[in-house]
């Protein structure tokens, strides 16, 4: 861990000013990811700007029926909030599938969106890694890559985004509100995280000096037909090998709207508009789900150890859509898969 200075932001404008004054400083919210990475010498910020006491902890219904969630709402408060449980149970479920109760108590919405990959080489400063040390090479491509991406990879990086919450947000079509030196702007969640391309050190499209202030959920919450299914190496407290957020609007047995997002397979939550469009107007049957899975996984490529993810994802997609269609969402408390 390096030496760093510490300052506490008085308000959002102060945080932006502090960040502009020291571009090598980092914002800290719950600290559950940043401190870990600092202990490993992966992140070596010159300073920490503590935003944890900023007044960004509110959930507000907006005039158009959307829900605006402050960037500092703890993950657990969000998951158990009555409005989320009732209107956006997919989000509640995805959050509860992640980490542990203690971590969720600390973790913030903004920090969760910004959490970094769990690629083992990223964490080990003795090995090359383009994300940690641009230009040094990617150790995973020809190394241990069982946990790595099968979609949207580049020759520079095959890391995955580890967030569960973001997968549900992607399916729900959330927006991210950010503020920076040149004012506020809104980024669609789908555009918030990046693919690695030749700049894998950039996880997101958040600009330099910008801070997440809120996320916004559109009115349509898919509260009837949804499911979040997370497949991992033990029954709790492990990152996803593959996860699926599925949300359907049904008219009888016909699908009027479908959203599917995948976690654990790419550098960002993975959606395919084509797959979702293909389901529209179709009956909610295994065949159609299977076709959607093919479209979602089109172009998936395997490395030495992660080939299983393609078939696993295919089966998980069909299963999750079936759970959603049957209104039998996966319980995060009971580990038997519905």
């Amino acid at each position: 861990m390096n030496n760093f200075h510490y300052s506490r932001a008085a308000d959002v404008a102060d945080a932006i000013r502090l960040l502009a004054a020291d571009p090598d400083a980092k914002l800290i919210a719950g600290g559950t990811n940043l401190i870990d990475l600092m202990k490993e010498n992966v992140e070596r910020p010159s300073g920490l700007i503590d935003i944890s006491r900023l007044p960004l902890r509110k959930l507000e219904e907006t005039a158009d029926g959307s829900l605006r969630i402050g960037a500092l709402v703890p993950n657990s408060d969000l998951a158990y909030h009555p409005l989320i449980e009732q209107r956006y149970p997919l989000l509640a479920s995805a959050i509860l599938a992640g980490a542990s109760a203690q971590l969720r108590n600390m973790a913030s919405v903004g920090g969760n969106l910004m959490q970094r990959t769990r690629c083992a080489y990223f964490y080990d400063t003795a090995t090359p890694c383009n994300k940690r040390n641009p230009g040094s090479g990617c150790s995973a491509i020809d190394g241990l890559n069982r946990n790595h991406a099968i979609l949207g990879t580049s020759p520079s990086c095959i890391a995955t985004n580890p967030s569960d919450m973001s997968v549900a947000l992607a399916a729900l079509g959330a927006l991210v509100h950010v503020a920076g030196p040149s004012g506020e702007r809104t980024i669609a969640l789908a555009d918030f995280h990046r693919l690695p391309g030749d700049k894998p050190h950039l996880d997101t499209n958040l600009g330099t000096g910008e801070i997440i202030i809120a996320i916004e959920l559109p009115p349509l919450g898919f509260a009837q037909n949804y499911s979040y299914l997370k497949i991992r190496d033990r029954l709790s407290y492990a990152f996803a090998l593959v996860s699926v957020a599925a949300a359907l609007e049904l008219e009888g047995n016909a699908i009027s709207q479908a959203r599917i997002a995948l976690g654990g397979v790419a550098h960002k939550p993975w959606r395919s508009l084509e797959a979702e469009a293909a389901l529209r107007g179709q009956a909610a049957t295994a065949d159609h789900f299977s076709h959607a899975a093919d479209l979602l996984l089109a172009g998936a490529t395997a490395r030495a150890h992660n080939g299983f993810k393609i078939e696993l994802a295919r089966r998980a997609i069909v299963r999750t859509l079936t759970q959603a269609a049957n209104a039998t969402p996966q319980s995060q408390a009971h580990k038997k898969i519905a």
Binding site: A126, I231, F308, E311, R315, K336, I337
Partner: protein
């Protein structure tokens, strides 16, 4: 006489532990305490070409950076570095000794600073240049260079011939990965500078006297110069049997600075210590059509370091357990550029029996025999390797009781035949076996006239319950309520004890307590019998007991003298007795514990997700001293078995020779969700031969057999035989 032994007595140290009053090695305060942080090598083999500590030394608060170049003297002979548990062959690792790098994660510098954070920061400023050498860390890649460890055991009969002739044969490799112990408590030492070159060393260890002797040798100290204390240990599972490098470095720092130094390793650094070595276990079984075994061979190929030959008994279990006229066993080692492996709960057996019991299941399938029936067909009342009867062996009863509790008779033998909705249900079983060892231990008892006793011994309690067992046995032997017994353990200045391991401490310490209590009784009798009109006037020692605060005649407890009266009469306040208990050597019996483990798994047919829904473990381990702590031991062992079967494995990138999952976020052990019903059954096993109390020990038997039972259940559920552990869901897809 037995108010406590055999009962579910709660842990006497439980309250101290849950309230935080129990202090661990890294928690002892000291005046002027300073803190160390270790710099580790990042290559597996080579030399340190240059080590620049100047930037680190410039950090405010840094007191020193110790390296091989500037450290105080360390012993230069292997004898000093060979602790009680060191492998016979080899030259133990010496931290900061010279510029050679032998494994990744090797400590190469110790930064000492006023604050821990300062030391940790300064450690990042130490610049190292290496002269890297070629290296190898991959057991499977180097399998060809395996060398026989020691002389192989004499083969029985002609195994090769019998295998060739066998009506039914099964042969396969089972691969068990390297595993790390991951005790909850981090490895830590607080070396307190007592002035004048003397030190009190609080260390996380399973053997304070082992560490004491080792430190005296390594630092050329007299026994009185160093005291090693370790009252509580937050789990160790074998990782604390040998003195670990942090105790050397903390002591080195204290001697260099003449100040008290604390060194706590990080979780990641603990992956540079010992581990269960990866093994390739090749088992071949040949049977007659009726299931009688005709041939068994078991070859284990295991990892060791280049500098020490660590080997444990992987194959001896196949040698002793089942009757078979022809057999051959060998244990081979491959030297790699890694640190030396070490004991890890049920070393040898956990891996070797896993392979054997998976192979037995495969043989049962080939024979179309029920797996329990096959084991009964090959059952042996004698240890097959030594051809000796057991002091006791109720394994047959374990199969019967376990099967009954599990409902085994309802099993449909066909794989994939049982299901519960979308899940395939599998039932599997396996045998477990471990040794019942016992060692010389000395105990001191100080009995005061108010009927309180202090019982002390250098033995450790690594969470296994030694404090409680010692208190129970002492309370019964001294005829006092358990509240009147205080137990002192794990101080090198206390009476002699070996390291706590091998499941030997319960039997060993209990009998030492009995022996010391007998000395106390002798003294009390001599006082009491001299009293005027003593009811014990002509009593022989063997006719007396200590009961209800008195010394009394065994056949008539009313003829008694109270402890207080006897001492008052003798004009003494206390009786202090120390006794070393040695067990009679018994070469006529084999001594083992056994278990039968039954597992139910549910596997999602499409997704491969595995849930271990039930485990029944029926254990025969002599007399159970404490059914509460005993049950906890076995349950803990079962959880370990679940981990071995489904989760655990240290992953190395052999291009770098580095462990890539050195933390408990990525090195998976079971979490609560992975642990469902565990039913522990203790089968009655009276044992008149093993020792006075008929005790065998429970620390390790709980894990043995569990991984195989689960693997066999996964096969029964899915029809897929996974021989490479852990069984992760990707191995079940296709």
């Amino acid at each position: 006489m037995n108010a406590y032994v055999g009962t579910p007595t709660s842990r006497v140290d439980g309250r101290a532990k849950v309230t935080g009053a129990a202090k661990y090695a890294g928690e002892f305060p000291a005046d002027g305490l300073v803190h160390g942080f270790v710099v580790e090598a990042t290559i597996p083999r080579g030399r340190i070409a240059r080590l620049d500590t100047s930037a680190a030394l410039q950090v405010k608060g840094v007191l020193d950076v110790l390296t091989h170049a500037n450290r105080p003297p360390l012993a230069g002979n292997d004898e000093a570095w060979k602790d009680e548990v060191a492998p016979e062959k080899g030259s133990p690792f010496r931290p900061l000794y010279d510029d050679t790098i032998k494994f990744n994660g090797q400590p190469i510098a110790l930064v000492v600073a006023e604050e821990w954070e300062t030391a940790k920061f300064a450690a990042t400023l130490v610049r190292v240049e290496y002269e890297p050498h070629g290296f190898a860390t991959d057991l499977e890649g180097e399998r060809g260079s395996a060398v026989e460890f020691d002389k192989p055991h004499e083969p029985r009969g002609d195994a090769a011939g019998a295998l060739a002739r066998a009506a039914v044969r099964h042969e396969a490799d089972y691969v068990i990965p390297t595993e790390h112990h991951n005790p909850m408590e981090l490895f830590a030492t607080t070396a307190v500078w007592d002035g004048d070159g003397k030190l009190t060393v609080y260390d996380k260890t399973q053997g304070v006297q082992n560490v004491h002797k080792f430190l005296c040798g390594v630092f050329d100290k007299k026994p009185d110069d160093i005291r090693v204390v370790s009252p509580y240990v937050g789990g160790a599972f074998g990782s604390g049997l040998r003195p670990q490098y942090q105790v050397v470095l903390a002591t080195l720092g204290a001697l260099a600075l003449k100040r008290s130094v604390r060194l706590v390793l990080t979780r990641q650094q603990m992956y540079g210590l010992g581990y269960r070595p990866m093994t390739i276990e090749r088992v071949a079984l040949g049977a007659k059509t009726d299931g009688a075994l005709d041939a068994v061979t078991h070859e284990a190929i295991a990892v060791t370091s280049r500098y020490e030959d660590f080997a444990r008994n992987d194959t001896g279990w196949a040698e002793q357990l089942y009757s078979s006229p022809n057999s051959r066993f060998s244990h081979k080692l491959v030297q790699l550029d890694v640190s030396t492996p070490c004991d890890m709960r049920a070393p040898g057996a956990a891996s070797g029996v896993c392979a054997l019991e998976c192979a037995m299941d495969e043989l049962a399938v080939a024979l179309k025999l029920d797996p329990v029936e096959l084991r009964l067909k090959c059952y042996s009342d004698r240890d097959q390797s030594e051809n000796l009867p057991y002091t006791s062996k109720q394994l047959r009863e374990c199969y019967a009781r376990g099967a009954d509790a599990f409902g085994w008779s309802k099993r449909n033998p066909a794989p994939r035949s049982m299901r519960d909705g979308k899940e395939l249900v599998g039932w599997g079983m396996a045998t477990g076996v471990w040794e019942a060892l016992q060692m010389p231990v000395a105990v001191r008892i100080v009995l005061t006239s108010n009927g309180h006793a202090e019982v002390s011994c250098a033995a450790s309690d690594i969470g296994t319950g030694t404090y409680t067992i010692v208190a129970q046995v002492a309370a019964d032997a001294l005829g006092l309520p358990i509240e009147n017994i205080s137990v002192k353990l794990a101080d090198s200045s206390l009476p002699q004890a070996p390291v706590e391991g091998g499941s030997w401490m319960a039997a060993s310490s209990a009998h030492a307590v009995l022996a010391a209590a007998e000395e106390v009784r002798k003294e009390l009798l001599s006082l009491a019998s001299k009293m005027h009109r003593s009811p014990l006037a002509d009593a022989e020692l063997t006719d007396t007991v200590l009961v209800d605060g008195t010394i009394a005649r065994t056949n008539d407890n009313s003829r008694a003298v109270s402890i207080a009266d006897a001492m008052r009469h003798g004009n003494i306040e206390r009786i202090a007795k120390e006794k070393l208990n040695q067990f009679d050597e018994d070469k006529k019996h084999a001594r083992n514990t056994h278990s039968a483990v039954f597992a139910e798994v549910k596997v999602d047919e499409e997704l491969g997700v595995i849930r271990v829904s039930r485990i029944v473990s029926a254990v025969a381990a002599g007399r159970i001293l404490n059914t509460k702590t005993g049950r906890s031991q076995v349950m803990g062992g079962v959880v370990w078995g679940i981990g071995m079967a489904l989760h655990e494995g240290t992953v190395m990138d052999h291009r770098f020779g580095r462990i890539m999952n050195p933390n408990i976020a990525e090195y998976h052990i079971p979490v609560n969700a992975d642990v469902r019903d565990i039913d522990v059954i203790f089968v009655d096993e009276p044992d008149a031969h093993i020792n006075k109390l008929g005790i065998k020990g429970l620390g390790e038997i709980g894990v043995v057999g569990v991984p195989a039972a689960i693997a066999n259940a996964v096969y029964h559920a899915t029809g897929k035989r996974i021989r490479r552990f852990p069984i992760t869901l990707d191995k079940l897809l296709d």
